[in-house]
C-alpha cells in the first residue's frame, strides 16, 4: 500500500466538478483508492462518498492506494491533485 498527503488549495474544496474528475481518474486503475480527511474516509471511485466528505480548502487529505498497479496509480493521482485541487 502506498499513500501521500495533500492540502486542498481549491477555493471551493472538493466540489462536484473535481469530485467527478477524481472518480474518473481513480477509475483508470485496478487498485483500491481511499481518501481520508477530518476523521472520515471514502472510496475515491464513488462520487457521492467523496462529495459527502465535504472536504474544504485547507483540509489535509491522505490518499491511500492499494493494489497491483499502485505505483502507477499513486504517481498519477498525486499529479491529479496538484493540477486540479
Amino acid at each position: 500500500m502506498k499513500n501521500f498527503k495533500y492540502v486542498i488549495k481549491d477555493e471551493l474544496g472538493i466540489h462536484a466538478r473535481p469530485a467527478g474528475l477524481l472518480v474518473k481518474e481513480a477509475g483508470k486503475f485496478q487498485s483500491a483508492v481511499n481518501l481520508k480527511s477530518n476523521g472520515k474516509s471514502g472510496d475515491a471511485k464513488r462520487i457521492f462518498g467523496i462529495m459527502g466528505m465535504a472536504i474544504k480548502k485547507g483540509d489535509e487529505v491522505t490518499v491511500e492506494v492499494d493494489g497491483a498497479d499502485e505505483g502507477e496509480a499513486i504517481a498519477a493521482l498525486e499529479q491529479f491533485f496538484k493540477a486540479n485541487l
Partner: protein
C-alpha cells in the same frame, strides 16, 4: 393586478403570457415483486438508458452553454454509476422484495437528505442534482414521456425551480423570461438567464402559483417585481421602462469602448459603485473603466457573525480577477449610523450619524480591522486593488491606520502568506474636517474620494431622512461645491488624484463644473456610467 416580489438575477423588462412548467413527476407506487434478479435487471437497463440520455444532453449543452456549464451532465452520469447509489437501490429491491421504482425513489430521498444536511450552501444545492438523475431513471422505468415542453409562442416560464436538464432542453427562442418560486443566484436557472440576457426573478415563494398559468404578466428585472394582469398605468410605466432599457442598450452600442474625454480633450475616468461582488457583471456590461467604490459592508450585513478572512479574501479576489486588471477601490467597513449589524453589539446612540461608526470602530476594534486588511492585501496580489478608508477627520487617524497596515503586513510576511506590498491607499472626503485639513491629508495618502452624501449632510447640518427639512435642502449648495474644490486643489498640489463617488458624481448638471475643478474620476452606479460618459463627451471646456 397582483404584484409579486422576488430577487432579480438580470435587469431587463419583458411582458407576455405565463407558462407554468408542467412537470410529469413520476408517481411512485410500491408493490411486492417475486423475482428480485429480474427487477434489478430492470433497474440496470433503465439506468443505462438514462446514462445514454445524459451523454446526449452533455453534447447538446457543450454546444449551447459551453464546457463549464455542460460539466454538470457528466457529473450526473457519474452519479448514476456510483456504487453506493446502485447498491442502495439493489439492496432495497432484494431485502424488501419491492419494485425498482420504489427503490430508486427511496434512495434518491436518502441521498438528497444527506446533501441537504451538509453545512455548505453549495453542497446543499446538490440535493437537486440527485433528484434530477433519479427522476430520469424513474421516467425510463415508467415509460413516462420526457418533461420537455413544446412552446408554441414566446412565453414567461414559471416553475418552482428548473433543474439543469430542464433548462438545457428549453427552446431558448421561445423564452421571454423566468419567474421561479425558489432558486438562488447560483442556481442553473439564474446562470442560464444571465447567459441569455433575459429577465429572471427568483425566490417568489408561494405567491407564485399555478393558477397564474396563461395569464398576462410583466417581469420587471430592475425592481425584482412581477405584475400579473397589470393595470393600464403599470403597463404604460413598464413599456416606458422597457423602451428605456432598449435605448440604454443602443446607447451602449454607441458609447461602448469610447473614451471618457471632452470635446477639448480633457480626460476623466468614469468608474462604477458596487455593493456586492455579484454586481461586477453590471459594471462590465455598462463599460465602466473600474470600480470607484466597492462597499465591503455586504460581507458583514449578510452574515450572522464576523466574516472570516477567507470569506472576505475570496470576495475581494473574485471581484479583482473579474475586473481583469482594471482598478477596484475597496472601502473598508462602514458599519454604524444607518447600517447596523447585530453581532457587532453596538450601543444605541442618541446621534448615530455623529457616532461610533466606520473607521472609528476599526481603530478601536482592531481585530475586525486587521482581518479585513489581511484579506485585502492578500487579494491585491490577484488584481488592481486600492484600499479606501471612510469617515476620516484627522491626519492622526491616517497615521494610525498606516501603522496598523504595517503590523498586518509584517504578520503576513512572517507567515509567508503571499500579498501585494504597494497597494494604493486613499481616504473618503466626507467630513468638513477632512476638507479643512486636506492639504495635510494629501501628503499621507495616494488619493481622495469625495462621499457627497455625507459631506452634504455634515456641511449643511441637514438630515436627509427628515422630510420636513426638504425646503432647506439644496443639493447644489455652494458650500458643498466649494468644499469639493478645496479638496481637489489640495490633492493636486501634492500630485495626488481625486474622485467623487457620491450621488453628485452622477448628476450630469454638475459634470462640467467637476471637470473644471480638475476632478480625475467620477464613480457612479453602473446604470449611470453611459449617461455620464455621454455628457462628458458633449462638454467643451475651452
Amino acid at each position: 393586478m397582483t404584484v409579486l416580489e422576488g430577487k432579480s438575477v438580470f435587469n431587463d423588462v419583458c411582458m407576455g403570457t405565463i407558462s407554468f412548467y408542467k412537470r410529469k413527476e413520476s408517481v411512485i407506487k410500491r408493490y411486492k415483486i417475486e423475482d428480485t434478479e429480474a427487477e434489478i435487471g430492470r433497474f440496470e437497463e433503465a439506468r443505462d438508458e438514462a446514462k445514454n440520455q445524459l451523454k446526449e444532453l452533455y453534447e447538446k449543452a457543450l454546444e449551447d452553454v459551453g464546457e463549464a456549464n455542460a460539466a454538470i451532465f457528466e457529473i450526473h452520469q457519474l452519479m448514476l454509476e456510483d456504487l453506493d447509489y446502485c447498491e442502495s437501490i439493489e439492496n432495497i429491491i432484494t431485502a424488501q422484495k419491492v419494485n425498482a421504482e420504489y427503490a430508486v425513489g427511496a434512495t434518491a430521498d436518502n441521498f438528497s437528505a444527506m446533501f441537504r444536511a451538509m453545512d455548505d450552501a453549495y453542497m446543499q444545492g446538490r440535493a437537486a442534482d440527485v433528484k434530477d438523475v433519479s427522476e430520469r431513471v424513474l421516467k425510463v422505468l415508467t415509460n413516462a414521456e420526457d418533461g420537455v415542453q413544446v412552446l408554441e409562442e414566446k412565453v414567461i416560464i414559471a416553475a418552482d425551480d428548473l433543474v439543469p436538464s430542464e433548462t438545457i432542453q428549453l427552446d431558448k427562442e421561445k423564452v421571454l423570461g423566468f419567474i421561479m418560486q425558489h432558486g438562488s443566484a447560483n442556481s442553473h436557472t439564474a446562470i442560464l438567464a444571465r447567459s441569455m440576457g433575459i429577465p429572471a426573478i427568483i425566490g417568489l415563494g408561494d405567491s407564485l402559483s399555478e393558477s397564474m398559468d396563461g395569464k398576462f404578466a410583466i417581469v420587471d428585472g430592475f425592481a425584482g417585481k412581477v405584475y400579473i394582469e397589470p393595470d393600464e398605468a403599470t403597463m404604460a410605466a413598464m413599456q416606458k421602462k422597457q423602451k428605456e432599457a432598449l435605448e440604454r442598450k443602443e446607447l451602449l452600442q454607441q458609447l461602448k469602448d469610447k473614451e471618457d474625454i471632452t470635446l477639448d480633450g480633457t480626460k476623466i475616468k468614469i468608474f462604477a459603485n458596487i455593493g456586492n461582488s455579484a454586481d461586477v457583471g453590471n459594471v462590465l456590461k455598462n463599460d465602466a473603466r473600474g470600480i470607484g467604490l466597492f462597499r465591503s459592508e455586504f460581507l458583514y450585513l449578510e452574515n450572522s457573525d464576523y466574516p472570516t478572512e477567507e470569506q472576505q479574501f475570496i470576495a475581494y479576489k473574485t471581484v479583482a480577477e473579474n475586473m481583469a486588471g482594471k482598478k477596484v477601490i475597496i472601502r473598508t467597513l462602514d458599519i454604524g449610523a444607518d447600517k447596523q449589524v447585530d453581532y457587532f453589539n453596538l450601543d444605541k446612540e442618541e446621534n448615530p450619524a455623529l457616532g461610533y461608526r466606520a473607521i472609528r470602530i476599526c481603530l478601536t476594534r482592531q481585530d475586525i480591522f486587521k482581518t479585513q486588511l489581511r484579506a485585502l492585501y492578500r487579494a491585491a496580489a490577484f488584481g488592481n486593488i486600492s484600499i479606501m478608508f471612510p469617515m476620516i477627520i484627522s491626519v492622526e487617524e491616517v497615521l494610525k491606520v498606516k501603522e496598523i497596515i504595517k503590523e498586518v503586513l509584517d504578520e503576513l510576511r512572517q507567515e509567508k502568506i503571499p500579498f501585494k506590498e504597494d497597494v494604493e491607499i486613499g481616504i473618503m472626503i466626507e467630513t468638513p474636517a477632512s476638507v479643512m485639513v486636506s492639504d495635510e491629508l494629501a501628503k499621507e495618502v495616494d488619493f481622495f474620494s469625495v462621499g457627497t452624501n455625507d459631506l452634504t449632510q455634515y456641511t449643511l447640518a441637514i438630515d436627509r431622512q427628515n422630510q420636513k427639512l426638504e425646503p432647506f435642502y439644496n443639493a447644489h449648495h455652494k458650500a458643498v461645491l466649494r468644499m469639493i474644490k478645496m479638496a481637489a486643489d489640495n490633492a493636486h498640489a501634492e500630485g495626488k488624484w481625486i474622485g467623487i463617488c457620491g450621488e453628485l458624481g452622477a448628476d450630469t448638471t454638475l459634470t462640467e463644473e467637476f471637470l473644471k475643478m480638475g476632478i480625475d474620476e467620477l464613480s457612479v452606479s453602473p446604470s449611470m456610467v453611459l449617461e455620464v460618459r455621454k455628457r462628458v463627451r458633449e462638454i467643451n471646456l475651452r
